[in-house]
């Protein structure tokens, strides 16, 4: 075996195909299955619906990918979505402009991201525990602000924004696509992207290279929270109301999407596109089961099974590759 064949590059179509994670395979299978069982699945309305749901999930799963690449985790993402929505809604009700309301929620999101980031990066506390704590904190604040009730009756501008289209593409889908492009550039075309991967892979090496690794680490949490917080604006546009508990479980789906897509919790191994595959797989599964009118509690069971299946496929393939070489 020559040196060059043993060094697997990360480019090349064959490489790409062999790198399709279990989620990709399951996604194709599910698409085929649902189409056969009920052709309504591939109707334009339904596909747009899938696109919208995927987009909302991606608004959390994409920044979550960056955080997981640093060997981190953000369990507070769902709670932040709930809190941010409440802040926007309350601010609008209090007569603030849309821009001011969004700025306020952005500020709060950044503050909580910074809190997570400082505790994880500078104090080296485990991200799991830190964000579990801030999750409770944010959820509590959202409930206190609203007495646990949904907040509605604010300006329809947000709903109009949510329902508008860019050319013929629904705006949320366009925004998710733009976010993907922006984070792709950040991760794969800037220094910061290299440093994100380096934090997960070997933070000491980054520090020894003269980079303020803790600052980069902190920045990832701040950026992630900023995006996640702003995504709440889209979410309240969907129903034109803010529910303090709407985000509960979203962190689970986002993390599941990232992991389904083949991103590892260790060593900065992963890829941004995996989150897209994972989010699509979860949304398609949910949507298909809906069309088959399967109970929503059962859907959660199915997502769990999907996750385990995808991991099994990846594991089996890894062993197959190891045996082949």
């Amino acid at each position: 075996m020559s040196v060059t064949t043993s060094l697997q590059g990360k480019s090349g179509i064959g490489q790409f195909l062999s790198a399709i994670p279990g989620a990709g395979i399951l996604l194709i299978l599910m698409l085929a299955l649902f189409t056969i069982v009920n052709p309504r699945f591939v109707s334009q309305t339904n596909l747009i619906n899938v696109g919208l749901q995927t987009s909302l999930l991606l608004m959390i799963a994409l920044p979550m990918t960056l955080i997981i690449l640093t060997e981190g985790l953000d369990l507070s993402a769902g709670a932040l979505v709930g809190l941010s929505g409440v802040i926007v809604a309350e601010a609008l009700l209090a007569g603030w402009g849309v821009f001011a309301a969004c700025t306020a929620t952005l500020a709060v999101s950044i503050a909580f991201g910074a809190l997570n980031g400082v505790l994880v990066a500078y104090l080296a506390l485990p991200a799991f525990v830190v964000t579990l704590g801030t999750m409770g904190l944010m959820q509590g604040i959202a409930l206190v602000l609203t007495n646990g009730d949904p907040v509605g009756g604010f300006t329809p501008a947000i709903e109009i924004f949510y329902r508008s289209q860019l050319w013929f593409i629904p705006l949320p889908i366009a925004i998710a696509a733009a976010l993907y492009a922006a984070l792709w550039l950040l991760l794969y075309r800037t220094r910061l992207g290299n440093y994100v991967i380096a934090i997960g892979g070997n933070k000491d090496a980054l520090r020894l290279a003269g980079i303020r690794a803790n600052l980069v680490h902190l920045a990832v949490y701040v950026l992630g929270s900023a995006i996640i917080g702003l995504s709440a604006v889209l979410l309240i546009g969907r129903t034109n109301s803010a529910h303090p508990t709407v985000g509960i479980g979203m962190e689970f789906e986002a993390i599941a999407a990232v992991v389904l897509g083949g991103t590892s919790f260790e060593k900065g191994q992963g890829w941004l596109f995996g989150a897209v595959l994972g989010a699509l797989a979860i949304t398609v599964l949910r949507n298909g089961l809906n069309i088959l009118s399967i109970d929503s509690s059962l859907q959660v069971v199915c997502i769990g099974i999907l996750l385990i299946l995808a991991l099994l496929i990846d594991q089996a393939r890894k062993q197959f590759v190891r045996r082949a070489t």
């Binding site: 697997q8 590059g9 800037t190 290299n194 380096a198 003269g210």
Partner: protein
């Protein structure tokens, strides 16, 4: 940014060095002044005088080998040079200028690069990204990194080293030798003039080593100075232009390649006059407790050893020679590819817990990680391998465990004020006794002791020796791994010597001397 200490020996102790001879030998290399000088470096840690007035001259274009046993001070020396430690006394000069190295960044700016055994690559960045980690700005335009240019630059550096690696390969997919080459490339891209390599061949194959040596030769031709830490005689004699031997933190001698024979160098590493005999009371061993025949694992080849009841057998060899792997394989912690192990006359159980039940015990090298549950107390740790003894009519009986623990504390002389004292508050020696207590309680017949006296003080050492005597008097077989040769020679009835993951010799009786061990361990 000096280290706030007086400077001694401004002129340095030049008597140890031979710059004139070096100048003659490197005629045409213009080596009149050393590129790097360490002058009178002294460094102490609590309880250890790690470096004693160490002075060292390194010339551009030479390979300067630093030779010494484990614990001679090689690692401390590198870390001081790299700014990871501040020297208590002494200073560093580059091209005759005194420089302050307060941290890795300073070292790097001065052109000093260190390639540690633990690499500093990021697994899921590619080769180019790793080489230029932290220096992407040179390839950036409008905030975006021009990776094509970065790969081109990496290509040039790799080509320069004669490496055909794909610059897009992730570090995670590289072998150890390849990662090492990338580290070298990284150092060169930072214009390193002094390259320090810490036992670079410890984890790579012979063919890969040859490639490394070619690279080193290339580098010296380009006037890079190599500081090469090793204890492999063959490499030392092949590569080293100058050889400095460290022992117990001090420079013993600094010579040019052909000035000393291999035997003389080994002698200088050991220090004591060879043939100095320690008194060993001969023991009368009994039946075989364990015998391994032609055992091979992923990391070992053809290991055959036999341990008899009532004897202490040493496993000698340098760090990385495979000693720990042998006891792990015997204990069932690492899978065995081929070979046979029998225990007390019958075939050894295949599983680890089976072997424990059959009477094997392992005192691991890293007692804090593998030997003990640090936050738990003496009782929990001492009874964990024999918990079944603490059950009365089906239920765990704390009183029974308490009684047994009291017995063990008395038997081994563990200095704990209560059975409920958590073991992380015990001294190293007492922690080691708790690990032994665990196995004594389990009724072990074969004790595998991996560096049993590492990190314990002199008094505790003597007690551990006494306990080992107690074990063999009780009919147990004991295997001892130790990097301290005097300890091995004193403690063991006989010893197997390892090199490169195989057993290369067996010494018993009068033949078991420090010198004999070291010659086998470093030979070729």
């Amino acid at each position: 940014m000096m280290h706030g200490t007086e400077i001694q020996n401004e002129q340095g102790d030049r008597s140890l060095h031979t710059p004139m001879a070096a100048g003659q030998r490197m005629a045409g290399r213009k080596a009149d002044a050393p590129l790097l000088r360490l002058v009178g470096i002294d460094k102490s840690f609590p309880g250890v005088h790690a470096l004693k007035n160490v002075s060292l001259d390194v010339y551009a274009g030479e390979v300067h080998v630093i030779l010494g046993q484990n614990g001679a001070g090689k690692s401390t020396l590198i870390k001081t040079l790299y700014g990871a430690y501040a020297a208590d006394r002494g200073h560093i000069e580059i091209e005759g200028r005194r420089v302050a190295v307060a941290g890795p960044a300073d070292a790097s700016a001065l052109g000093i690069a260190v390639i540690f055994q633990e690499f500093s690559l990021v697994p899921y960045l590619d080769i180019a990204q790793n080489i230029f980690l932290g220096r992407e700005a040179a390839f950036s335009r409008f905030g975006l990194v021009d990776f094509a240019a970065m790969h081109a630059a990496a290509r040039i550096i790799l080509d320069d080293l004669g490496l055909d690696y794909d610059t897009h390969a992730y570090a995670a997919n590289l072998g150890v030798a390849q990662q090492q080459m990338v580290e070298i490339a990284k150092a060169l891209s930072q214009n390193a003039r002094v390259l320090v390599m810490d036992e670079p061949t410890a984890a790579i194959s012979e063919r890969e080593s040859d490639r490394l040596f070619q690279t080193i030769t290339r580098l010296t031709e380009r006037r890079v100075a190599i500081v090469y830490i090793s204890h492999r005689m063959k490499e030392v004699q092949m590569l080293g232009d100058r050889i400095t031997i460290l022992r117990d933190g001090a420079v013993v001698t600094s010579v040019l390649r052909d000035q000393k024979s291999q035997a003389e160098m080994v002698g200088a590493m050991i220090g004591r006059a060879s043939g100095s005999q320690l008194v060993r009371t001969p023991r009368t061993p009994g039946e075989p407790v364990l015998s391994a025949r032609d055992v091979s694992t992923a990391k070992l080849s053809d290991i055959s050893i036999e341990i008899l009841a009532g004897e202490v057998v040493g496993l000698a060899g340098l760090v990385g020679s495979g000693r720990t792997e042998v006891v792990r394989a015997l204990f069932g912690a690492d899978p065995i590819a081929i070979g046979e192990i029998s225990l007390l006359g019958s075939r050894a159980p295949t599983t680890l817990d089976g072997r424990v039940r059959a009477g094997m015990a392992l005192l691991p090298e890293d007692r804090k990680q593998e030997g003990l549950a640090l936050p738990l107390d003496v009782r929990d740790n001492a009874t964990v391998a024999s918990l079944w003894r603490s059950f009365a009519s089906g239920w765990f009986s704390p009183a029974k465990a308490e009684r047994d623990t009291h017995g063990l504390i008395a038997q081994l002389g563990i200095a704990a004020h209560s059975t409920r004292q958590s073991v992380h508050t015990l001294s190293g020696g007492n922690q080691q006794k708790v690990v032994l207590a665990k196995w004594l309680a389990a009724g072990a017949k074969l004790f595998l002791l991996d560096e049993p006296t590492r990190g314990v003080d002199v008094g505790a050492k003597a007690e551990i020796y006494r306990l080992i005597d107690q074990l063999v008097d009780g009919g147990a077989g004991v295997v001892v791994i130790s990097s301290e040769l005097p300890e091995l020679v004193q403690l063991c009835d006989r010893a197997y010597v390892m090199r490169d993951h195989r057993i290369v010799g067996h010494l018993a009786g009068d033949a078991l001397t420090e010198r004999a061990i070291l010659e086998l361990a470093v030979h070729q």
